[in-house]
Symmetry: C2
Subunit: 363 residues, 2 copies
Amino acid sequence: VSESGQDDGMRDTPFLAVDVDLLERNLKAMANHAATAGLELRPHAKTHKSVFLAQLQIERGAVGITVATVSEAEIFASAGLDDIFIAYPIWAEGPRAERLRTLATRTRLRVGADSIEGVRQLAQAMGSQVHRLAVAIEVDSGHHRSGRSPESAAEVAAAALEVGLTVDGVFTFPGHSYGPGAGDSAARDEAEALTIARGALTAAGIPCPVVSGGSTPSADAARSDVLTELRPGVYVFGDAQQWELGTCAPESIALTVRATVVSRRDDTVIVDAGSKALGADRASWASGYGRVMEYPNARILALSEHHATVRFPSDETPPAAGTRLRIVPNHVCSAVNLADRYTVEREGAEIDEWRIDARGANT
Amino acid sequence: VSESGQDDGMRDTPFLAVDVDLLERNLKAMANHAATAGLELRPHAKTHKSVFLAQLQIERGAVGITVATVSEAEIFASAGLDDIFIAYPIWAEGPRAERLRTLATRTRLRVGADSIEGVRQLAQAMGSQVHRLAVAIEVDSGHHRSGRSPESAAEVAAAALEVGLTVDGVFTFPGHSYGPGAGDSAARDEAEALTIARGALTAAGIPCPVVSGGSTPSADAARSDVLTELRPGVYVFGDAQQWELGTCAPESIALTVRATVVSRRDDTVIVDAGSKALGADRASWASGYGRVMEYPNARILALSEHHATVRFPSDETPPAAGTRLRIVPNHVCSAVNLADRYTVEREGAEIDEWRIDARGANT
């Protein structure tokens, strides 16, 4: 799972550096939160895409993992992860149908569904093995992406039972938690939508053992009297979005992109980590395209593919060319998906490398 | 270089599809433009990151290629590309110093420089082989990224000569051409900055055989009486940015991300190509996060990692779940860097696969 690192003491930038002690602290904090709340923790592995990290999460009490695609599920299942939720309304046609069937016969697999056509496709893909696939009905709790109205969840659940699928319950992604001060209200919306959806299933005589929610910004406020399962992803590392939302302190951010200043003029420097290392994500409320750990008052005004343009306040001296900086990406899931490996550090010294096994696993 | 494709007739989405006839037309059009203008064409290979495509460009008259990083240069040089410009102010320290020296001894190599410290680092990296490395001085023509003032270009050129480097000339990237109606004025800025920079070198007695500029939106208006060399990248494929800027017609766009509708509600559908397939780039003037080839009036309102939220006008019927769409990414360089291969098609039928050799080559 891991490979030994170079020992030249200086790796060429840009690269992803993980502080293993901070990572460990973040893993434990979320595991403790879930245990205290009586919730099952099923972390979203799309953030880290690493078999080694998923195994760490399981060792610390996670019941299984969440992924977004069949190919992510295939990679984690091949490595021995045996309880996987693809939290996505899979359209099971073409080669994907057979891939899903193969996967469902060798691991405990749950997939998302938000339409009657979708569950019929799933059943057709599974053929005689249809009972081996569990579904959870996705409901929209306010993010307005995929997912149907909570009131209509039972229609899809009933269709799923009718075609022979197993129904685990209901889930939502309260993605509207990604806004200033929005975590608590998104957690309330999540609980309300899931309560309605569970009620609809129960009223239709359909058991609903799984009530799954959770995102990193809403996890603290997740309603343990409604949910049975939490699916946060970003918490393992944190990122500039979580920093600016107040969900994590900069001191707890476990992943940075190590970069070098290559050019400097007046109050502005250019560093060699651009959108191909950091990702181009920028929410409307973000202060820029990421943050600089050593210079919290600096702002990343622009990104090209291999340049970040960083402006410093007038009372700070910008770093000289050649200076190495730790850049915190806005959205860590995107930054991780651009790299092949993590450089793992303890107290600033490189101790290991971990593969990003599921990078690019989009299908 | 190429591998034969699957012949199941249906590949799981999302994937990058290249129309080889449109690609060929785009390659020829830019080669003809450069030849007619009497400019040397040195296409930026960071767009396609493909050895096979770089070779096609050379076969159609390109004098060499441009890249952004030492690792991109290493990959193309290993494949036999022997005239490479790293158009970036390389900071040659650590392992990168030795990598650069190795590279410069086996290929004709030019790198960018925009500071006296930078050229001293380059010389130190090259050691006794310093004469084998050519530099071009980067000047800022209005994009305000890296590059120094045109007036001061000769200071860096003189410093480069003093430490024994070869000086090829001057270059700029008129990246402010990426705005509505900005191509022509950016080309004027480019010509003005390069004229000043060349004049400064000449006045200092420093020959300036190379005057290099060019971006796809400014290429048509590039001043052939000033420039000697053009470095466009995106023109090989086109993308939604070029479509919306009017630099390319949608009919000439040679690369799309093939995606499937997975969920539908009212006037909105969700397709399975998100920011991990399309890239998250969105300029302030863009209509959304990409365009849908089959539905030019639809708008991509939001991207998650594996979801694009597409809204249709009230007088159009959104496609049903299971429908396959061709999504045009905003910035094709970012989309390409997320994939491992191109699926190559002619008249809609898959005929080949090409590797994206330099994906993730950021160092």
